[in-house]
Amino acid sequence: MIPSLPPGVLMMFGAILLPLLGKKFSAIGALVLSSISLILFWTLPADHVIPMSFFGQELILARIDKLSWIFCLVFHLAAIMASVYALHVKDTKQHVAAMLYAGSSIMASCAGDMITLFVCWELTAVSSVFLIWASNSEKAYRSGMRYLIIQVISGVLLLSGAIIRFRSTGDLGFHSFIDGDPSSFFTLSLGSKLILIAFGIKAAFPLLHNWLQDAYPKSTPTGTVFLSAFTTKLAIYSLARGFAGLEELVWIGCAMTLFPIVFAVIENDLRRVLAYSLNNQLGFMVVGIGIGSDLAINGTAAHAFCHIIYKALLFMSMGAVLKQVGTTKATELGGLHKTMPWTTLFCIIGAGAISGFPLLSGFISKSMIISAAAYEHRFVVWFILLIASAGVMEHSGIKIPFFAFFAHDSGKRPKEAPLNMLIAMGMGAFLCVGLGVAYPLLYKNLPYELHHEYVPYTLAHVVMQLQLLLFAGLAFLFLMKMGLYPEEKRSTNLDFDWVYRKLFPNAISQIGRGIRWMDQTLRACVLWLLTWFVRICEKNFNETGNLGTTWSTSLMAFWAAILLGLCLMLYYL
């Protein structure tokens, strides 16, 4: 029976058949697949579980509860939106990879046990790398390799953690992994720690984050839209499922909201700015998971939902720029609003949504997490999240639309994006506004029932949020007028990937050089010693040496007499 298939499976198997449709129709095939998958998912009953016996082990291929439902829904919406956006792409390989990737992400978000999760986890890694390689450049190939290695490491850690947990508890279920009380990283069992790190890699925790900024901007215009939606949000879902309420996550999340905003200020490639911004948004969600209250988890789920849509919208607008102009470097853009008005409008809506302007989606979701921090009386966390909100306004709210579409006129007059791209962006923009206005539709589907209904639109909240954002905008205006805003520069800004792209290779080559030097020195010393010894031997044993010369018989008789005399004296003594 088809309806009892786990969500996402149809897309995964359908993806394999897409090449049969040929270059012309595979894009439409992908769109049809994701739409049918959404319909099937929608018809699944609530709290649905699909078990399967595998080598005597009971696996749960799908478990639809309120937490997985909301993620599954938004993954479907993202897949449909991105498929519309990619309708003009004639490269079948990309459609196959995208559908496999989206399908496995959806299935992973429904997985009820660690084996199913692991298999889907690895499938997302292996399928998504083809979206990076699809750019067909040396840089994309290398970046994809780094991406794949890091993602596979995450998978290996996940499997190791699951096995260790299974050995000690006999439990393969995918549920909360917090074992100790109070909940802290140090009270977690080894298996749970490994699982947390595996999730942390995919969620782009600080220092584990650089695969994101490295790989996403190197993908194709359409590939990045898919990439932005799934991997990291699957990790957020997994963290919410497995580690809700883990104290360390609050501080990890705070760090994640802060450091990317400073990097985003100076980054020239606008798709990389969006990757930093994505990292910053994940920070809000990780804080929500760390706080762990019902409101915070609801906030995390709501924010992930809204974020997937507005982030996809922003990546779509930059993808349109990349496709039409050939670059997303701020130094080479500007004035595009003249010929790409629709893309500009959609980008501004996405930028407004991510910044959290009232009536747009970010306002109704981000505020839940910030309020959750306030309700728990966590002043420092609340304060950091406010700084991060001003930061979002800087890099995504202003920088992205301003430098791409306005700023100084680059003189470039590209055509407006193709119709399918505009439709996809229109869908995203519609959802951003829709979620901002009709927010109860989202709220009533969040994981937890709240005792006190959360109301985002109070006069105080709206006014205060507007103050924060508008005055941040005013600061931008002020800095620009005074000529104090740092101009965009063509540059590479080092981040943590420098450690494994430069430091490690350099260190390894230095160590190699050191070993070679020691080897050569040792060999030279031994050779010198040997030469010295041979020379001594030669000196003493040749025909003129002390031991090599023939001594006269009289001398021998003389010494023999002396020795005999000595023996005689010793005998008497």
Binding site: Y375, R413, T458, L459, L468, F471, A472, A475, L479, L494
Partner: protein, 97 residues
């Protein structure tokens, strides 16, 4: 395409470019309005302002707190970015060389 027409297109100012002053003024007016609303509605309509939104921290009650915060945070972030450039900025093909 007619080269003159291309030139005209290239030099023609868009609506946004012609009204850039108005956009700036609008922003400043909007900023002032948010503070005025907070100052006026706070004492005049306290029920409307406070209902369902209790300040959790003392600092939230300070009029215009978020305004000052937004402005200051923005400037600080930009300057931190400038500072960060000193440490992390390299030439564009740094990793290729």
């Amino acid at each position: 395409m007619d080269p003159q027409q291309t030139k005209k297109e290239a030099t023609e100012l868009s609506w946004a470019e012609r009204n850039v002053k108005w956009i700036g003024t609008g922003l400043i007016v909007a900023c002032v309005l948010t503070v005025v609303v907070q100052l006026l509605c706070g004492p005049v309509l306290p029920a409307m302002f406070d209902e369902k939104h209790k300040a959790h921290f003392e600092v939230e009650n300070f009029p215009g707190f978020q305004a000052i915060f937004g402005f200051a945070a923005f400037v600080i972030i930009v300057y931190l970015g400038k500072l960060l450039r000193l440490f992390v900025m390299r030439e564009e093909n740094y990793y290729d060389s």
